[in-house]
C-alpha cells in the first residue's frame, strides 16, 4: 500500500470482513447481555478488586483520612490470620455437606416422583414449591422456632417420647450440631430446584432407549448407571455447579440461625465473615479481599469440575 488508508476506511473494511465471515452477527445478539453483565457484574467486580488493594475503612470512605494504596497488605493480613483458615475450612466442609445432601435428597425425590401416581406427584411438587418459595429469612426463623430449646415442638416431641435428655437441649450450642441444623434448613430450601431439574431430565430420556437396553437384557440398576446417568449428565452438571455456588456463599441461614456466627464464632462461613469484617466493623478493604478470595475459589472449583467432566468425554 503506497498511501496509508484513512483510519475510518480501515475500520469499515475490518467491519465488512467481520460481517462477511459471519463473526459480527453473534456479537450483535450478545451485545445487550454483555452490556448488562458489564454494568452489573464486571464493574462491581472491578471495584471489589480495586478496594481490596487499599487501606479503605470508614474514615477513608468519608474522606476524613487520606486514601492509601496498600498493595497486598489486606491479603497478607488475611492469609496470616488463623481465623480465616478456620473459617475457610468450615466453609468447604459445610458447603460440601450441603451440596451432597441437597443432591442426594433432590435426586432421590426426583426418581421417586417418576414412579408416583399423578396426584401424589402433584402433592409432592406443591410441597417442594412451598419450600422453594419460602424466603431464606422466614425459613430460618421457622426452623429456629421448631428447634427452640424449651418451646420448640421438636424438643417437646422428643421429650414426650421419653427422651428426657432433649428437654431444654440447645441445638445451636456445639459447633457441629449448629452446622447440622443449618444444613437441614439449607437442604430443605434448595432440594426443590434439584428435584425439578432432575425430574425434567429423567422425563426427557426417550422411552425407546430404555426399552432397547431392557431388550438387551440390562437390569434396572445397569440401566440407571449406564444409560440414564450419562444422559442426565448435562442436568447434573447444572444442579451441581449451582449448588456449589449457592452453598459456598451461604449467608442468611448462618447469620440468622447461629446469631451471626455462633458461639465464639464457631459457625462462621466466608460470606458472614466478610460481612462482619467489611460492614459491621467498617474494614471495607479487608472485606473486599475476602470477597475476592471467595470469588477466585468458586471460579477455580467450577473450572476444575468442568474440566474433569470434559475429560470424561462429555461435550457441554
Amino acid at each position: 500500500m503506497a498511501t496509508p488508508a484513512p483510519p475510518l476506511r480501515v475500520a469499515g473494511r475490518a467491519l465488512a470482513r467481520l460481517r462477511r465471515s459471519g463473526r459480527l452477527e453473534p456479537w450483535v445478539y450478545l451485545a445487550p447481555a454483555l452490556v448488562v453483565l458489564g454494568a452489573l457484574l464486571a464493574y462491581p467486580l472491578y471495584q471489589l478488586v480495586l478496594v481490596s488493594f487499599y487501606d479503605y475503612r470508614q474514615p477513608q470512605v468519608t474522606g476524613a483520612e487520606p486514601l492509601r494504596f496498600s498493595g497486598w497488605a489486606n491479603y497478607r493480613t488475611l492469609l496470616a490470620d488463623p481465623q480465616f483458615w478456620e473459617v475457610l475450612g468450615n466453609t468447604v466442609v459445610f458447603a460440601g455437606a450441603c451440596v451432597t445432601g441437597t443432591l442426594a435428597v433432590g435426586g432421590c425425590l426426583a426418581v421417586l416422583a417418576t414412579r408416583l401416581s399423578a396426584w401424589v406427584r402433584t402433592l409432592l411438587f406443591l410441597a417442594a414449591l412451598g419450600a422453594w418459595a419460602t424466603p431464606a429469612v422466614t425459613g430460618s426463623a421457622v426452623w429456629l422456632f421448631l428447634f427452640d430449646p424449651s418451646l420448640g415442638p421438636v424438643n417437646q416431641a422428643l421429650a414426650g417420647l421419653g427422651m428426657t435428655g432433649f428437654e431444654g437441649h440447645s441445638w445451636t450450642y456445639t459447633k457441629w450440631s449448629a452446622f447440622g441444623l443449618v444444613l437441614s434448613q439449607v437442604v430443605w430450601c434448595s432440594f426443590p430446584f434439584v428435584m425439578v431439574t432432575l425430574y425434567a431430565g429423567i422425563r426427557s430420556i426417550p422411552g425407546e432407549v430404555i426399552e432397547a437396553a431392557r431388550l438387551d437384557g440390562a437390569s434396572t440398576g445397569r440401566i440407571a448407571l449406564s444409560v440414564m446417568l450419562p444422559m442426565l449428565r448435562p442436568a447434573m452438571v447444572i444442579v451441581t455447579i449451582q449448588s456449589i455456588i449457592w452453598d459456598f456463599k451461604i449467608f442468611t441461614q448462618i447469620y440468622i440461625m447461629t446469631g451471626g456466627g455462633g458461639i465464639a464464632g464457631q459457625n462462621l462461613v466466608l460470606n458472614v465473615y466478610a460481612y462482619q469484617q467489611a460492614f459491621a466493623s467498617g474494614q471495607y478493604g479487608l472485606g473486599s479481599a475476602i470477597g475476592v478470595v471467595t470469588t477466585a475459589l468458586l471460579l477455580a472449583i467450577s473450572l476444575v469440575y468442568l474440566r474433569v467432566l470434559r475429560r470424561q468425554g462429555e461435550v457441554l
Binding site: P59, Q60, V61, Y173, I263, A264, G265, S281, G282
Partner: protein
C-alpha cells in the same frame, strides 16, 4: 506465538495504569458551611420495643420547636438499633441523605468521629447552662480527643435484680459481695434445678465487664495516646474466672446461657425462670408489668468487698449534630431542647431512662424509690469502653464474648482465652 508476549505485557501495563489511575470512591467531606435557618430539619432517633411513649414526647418537642421557628419543619425518623452501623455509614458516605441531628449509642461515637461524621459543638455547649449539671463521667461519653460531639441524653445503668420470695424460701441473705452473688446463684440452682441461679449470658458484655472492673481489671489501658489490652492482667483474669463460674452447670448452664445477650438474660428473669439477673433501669417497666413484679428487689451489683459497688458501664445515648448539616444553628438548638430539663423529665416518665442532668436525676430518685439503686450505682462511679474507632470492630467481632464463651465451654483455660483476646484487641488497636 511470539506476538503473544507484547500483548500480554500490554494488558498487564494497561491493568496497572487502570489500578493506579482509579482509586476507590471517597466522599468529599468538605463541610458545606451553610447555616440555613429554614427548611427541613431531619432527625434520626432509635426505634424502641415499645415506641409509642417515646414518639409522644418527641412529637411534643417537635411541636414546640416548630412553633418557635417559622418556616422550619422537623422530620423525625426512627431507625432500628440493630442496623445502625450500616445506616450511619450510609449517612456519612452520602451527606445528602444524612440527618442533621441524630441519637447514637455512646460506645459508637469514637468510630463516628474518626469517620468525620459528627460536628464538634464544644463552643455552643459552653454557653448552654444546663450542660454544667451533667457529671464529668457522663459528659466524657460524648467526648473524643478533646472535642465534644453531643449531649448525653439518657443513661442505662445496670444493677442486680433478685427474687425476694426465692431468697426468703431458701434462707439466702442479700449478697454483700460478688462472690456471694455467685454463691447465692449456686444455692438456688442446687435447691431449684429448674431455675437459673443468676441469668447472665456469655454474650452479655455489660453484665460481664463489672466483674472485671470490680477486681481492678480493665479491657485496655491508655498509654501515651494509644491503647494496650489489659484483659490478660491478673486482676482482669480474676474477674473472668469469677464470671466463668456463673456460666457453669451449677449457676447458669452454658447450654442455655452461653449465647444469651443482655436482653435475653433479663427475659429469663421476667419469665420467672431465674432467681437473679443483671438488669438495667430501662428494664424496670417490663419487670413491673410481669408476674414477678411483687417479688423483685433491686440493689447495686456489689463489688469484691462488702459495702462496695461493682463499677457499672456508663451506657447511654447521646444527641449529636452531623458534620455535614447545613442547619447547624437549628440542629444545636433542637438538640438542646430535646436534651434539656423539660424533655429529659418527660423521657424519664415515658421510658424509664435515667436522666443525665443532675437535678433531674435527684428529682427522679426522690420521687421514685425504684430508681434509687441505679442512681446509687451511677454516683459510686461508672466506667466506659476504650474511646477508639477500633471499638466498633472489636464489638462486631465479638472479641469479649468469644473470650467468655471459650472459657465457659471448656475450650480454653482462663489464661489462654484472655491471652487470645488480648492479642486480638492489640491487633485492632494497632490497626488504626
Amino acid at each position: 506465538m511470539r506476538y503473544r508476549r507484547p500483548i500480554r505485557a500490554g494488558a498487564l501495563l494497561g491493568l496497572a495504569v487502570l489500578l493506579a489511575a482509579c482509586a476507590p470512591a471517597q466522599t468529599d467531606s468538605a463541610e458545606s458551611g451553610a447555616d440555613s435557618m429554614e427548611g427541613t430539619l431531619r432527625v434520626w432517633l432509635f426505634s424502641e420495643v415499645d415506641q409509642e411513649p417515646k414518639e409522644k414526647v418527641v412529637d411534643e418537642a417537635v411541636a414546640e420547636f416548630e412553633a418557635a421557628h417559622e418556616d422550619v419543619t422537623v422530620e423525625v425518623q426512627y431507625i432500628p438499633v440493630d442496623s445502625r452501623a450500616e445506616r450511619f455509614q450510609g449517612a456519612f458516605n452520602d451527606p445528602s441523605s444524612a440527618p442533621d441531628v441524630a441519637e447514637y449509642g455512646n460506645t459508637d461515637l469514637a468510630g463516628y468521629v474518626e469517620a468525620g461524621g459528627f460536628a464538634d459543638i464544644s463552643d455552643e455547649l459552653a454557653e448552654w447552662k444546663p450542660y454544667d449539671r451533667i457529671s464529668d463521667d457522663v459528659a466524657a461519653t460524648a467526648r473524643v480527643d478533646g472535642g465534644t460531639y453531643g449531649v448525653p441524653w439518657f443513661l442505662g445503668v445496670r444493677a442486680l435484680f433478685y427474687r425476694t420470695d426465692v431468697f426468703a424460701d431458701l434462707g439466702i441473705d442479700t449478697p454483700q459481695t460478688l462472690d456471694e452473688v455467685v454463691e447465692a446463684g449456686r444455692t438456688v440452682r442446687e435447691e431449684k434445678p429448674d431455675m437459673l441461679g443468676l441469668s447472665s449470658g456469655g454474650a452479655y458484655t455489660y453484665g460481664f465487664l463489672p466483674f472485671v472492673w470490680a477486681h481492678g481489671g480493665d479491657i485496655a489501658e491508655k498509654k501515651q495516646g494509644s491503647y494496650t489490652a489489659a484483659v490478660d492482667s491478673p486482676e482482669s483474669k480474676a474477674g473472668l474466672e469469677l464470671y466463668s463460674q456463673v456460666l457453669s452447670e451449677d449457676v447458669c448452664p452454658p447450654q442455655t446461657c452461653a449465647q444469651m445477650t443482655g436482653n435475653e438474660s433479663v427475659q429469663n428473669f421476667i419469665a420467672g425462670k431465674a432467681a437473679m439477673t443483671i438488669g438495667g433501669n430501662f428494664n424496670l417497666n417490663a419487670v413491673d408489668a410481669s408476674e414477678v413484679a411483687e417479688d423483685t428487689a433491686v440493689i447495686p451489683l456489689p463489688g469484691t468487698e462488702p459495702g462496695s459497688v461493682a463499677p457499672a458501664f456508663a451506657g447511654g445515648n447521646n444527641l449529636g449534630v452531623l458534620a455535614g448539616t447545613d442547619h447547624r444553628t437549628l440542629s444545636v438548638e433542637f438538640t438542646q431542647l430535646l436534651a434539656g430539663k423539660k424533655y429529659q423529665q418527660r423521657m424519664y416518665e415515658a421510658m424509664g431512662n435515667l436522666p443525665t442532668l443532675g437535678d433531674v436525676q435527684s428529682d427522679a430518685a426522690a420521687a421514685d424509690e425504684e430508681i434509687g439503686p441505679f442512681v446509687e450505682t451511677l454516683e459510686s462511679g461508672t466506667r466506659f469502653v476504650p474511646v477508639t474507632g477500633a471499638w466498633a470492630a472489636i464489638d462486631a467481632e465479638g472479641v469479649l464474648p468469644t473470650m467468655v464463651q471459650r472459657v465457659s465451654s471448656g475450650d480454653a483455660s482462663v489464661d489462654a482465652a484472655a491471652a487470645e483476646a488480648a492479642d486480638s484487641l492489640d491487633e485492632s488497636f494497632g490497626g488504626e
